[in-house]
Subunit: 219 residues, 2 copies
DNA sequence: CGGGCTCTTGAACTAGCTCAACCGGAGTGG
DNA sequence: CCACTCCGGTTGAGCTAGTTCAAGAGCCCG
């Protein structure tokens, strides 16, 4: 049984039209609402109405799904610049939480869909997410534990500013639920990569990558 | 090592604007090209340019990805009415094949994206696929073999005309590569569901569902 | 009928899980 | 400043679901 911690710090919402928000949107007539969330705060939950899409300004968001017995699958981590929360139905089938203190922009996407340029951005974003999900299907369906962790580290390295130093904002438990493993196995694979000389660890959350080794050992 | 059969029957292409095709599209000025493919014929392959999206007229299509050593993950089966082949990049990261003799409509989607109504349909389709992929992430990451097969049968039942009789167009191997299992495990799970009285088999490809039993045993 | 497929079944093996103990660093309070 | 505690992470030992390897059974189409 995989349960995530229940500690959720309060969310601060600003349901008014800040000038900054409008500026950050694409069309001046589409309201974009800035919101802040504390560590582990829920941004939205399964069953809520899914009127809004979100754009991350800062921080990290995890989007996930739960089975009735508590098993959890994280479908993705979203960082600054990423959109998330686009769902085809009226009600949400997924939940989203802030991994660390996070600022987002909420956009009522039904309104947004009236603008062709916005529509195009939404489509682009949906297609990017689709591709990410499908690559992740390959990971979950066909890769072993070590390959999964390597793929994860490369993905995180790709996103960070420094390709050699990765700062992991999420705990092992989240990594496990993203990679379809247990946190123990994730920990063991970190140890194995360290033994193989592919990474160095400075605490649990900072990873130094040896990209040469990494590139050498896989696709 | 999971290799699919290499038997691919020839594809017949009609690169002209048939009246039917235009009718089946949404705007008369967007060319839709009807194409036919034999069993196991490739519709597109990884590395090709990804200019076209497709709509299935009849038959079944599998979209998949391969690892260098031949491990395969099928991300979805597409049947009449479904769109597939929408990818964000210039070149394809996935491959598509006809599971059975199949007719599709090819649409140059960059053109299509000029029409707002078409854009909206593409977005809708992309969001639908996105949701399907993400549900499938939960299946691959967190469900056991029996749960996976049940989910699969429900999905197939949902799509077929008769909710009690499922005609499976694909072999066990494809089901395995869709569910992240081996074909032997798939076969064993079919046997187990039969023993549990949840299904009856008429040959390997026709499944009679006892929906009461099925509904009783899970979400 | 016969020759490939596809599918099923069996037996042994193993990657990853489960359960359990321990470790270590950051915050807290005496 | 040091002890305590809490939480996240690591490590170990045994177990099991699913894989692998292998042999057979249908079955479709010539």
């Amino acid at each position: 049984m995989l349960m995530h911690t229940e500690i959720t710090e309060k969310a601060t919402k600003f349901p008014f039209l800040a000038p900054k928000a409008v500026e950050a949107g694409h069309d001046a007539d589409i309201p974009a609402i800035p919101m802040s969330f504390g560590r582990n705060a829920e941004i939205y939950g399964e069953g809520e109405r899914s009127g809004y899409a979100y754009k991350v300004l800062s921080g990290v968001v995890r989007v996930y799904q739960l089975l009735p017995d508590g098993r959890r699958q994280i479908s993705g981590f979203h960082m600054a610049g990423d959109m998330f929360g686009l769902e085809p139905d009226e009600t949400r089938h997924f939940s989203a939480e802030a991994v660390v203190p996070t600022k987002v922009l909420a956009i009522k996407w039904q309104n947004a869909a009236r603008s062709a340029s916005y529509l195009r951005e939404l489509l682009q974003s949906a297609m990017k997410d689709l591709r990410h999900s499908q690559e992740h299907l390959l990971l979950l369906g066909r890769k072993n534990a070590l390959e999964r962790l390597i793929s994860f580290l490369r993905e995180m390295a790709e996103r960070g500013s420094d390709k050699h130093v990765i700062e992991l904002p999420m705990p092992r438990h989240d990594i496990a639920d993203y990679l379809g493993l247990t946190l123990e196995t994730v920990s063991r694979m970190f140890a194995e990569l360290k033994d193989l000389g592919v990474i160095k660890l400075q605490g649990a959350r900072r990873v130094l990558l040896d990209n040469h080794e990494l590139a050498a050992m896989c696709s």
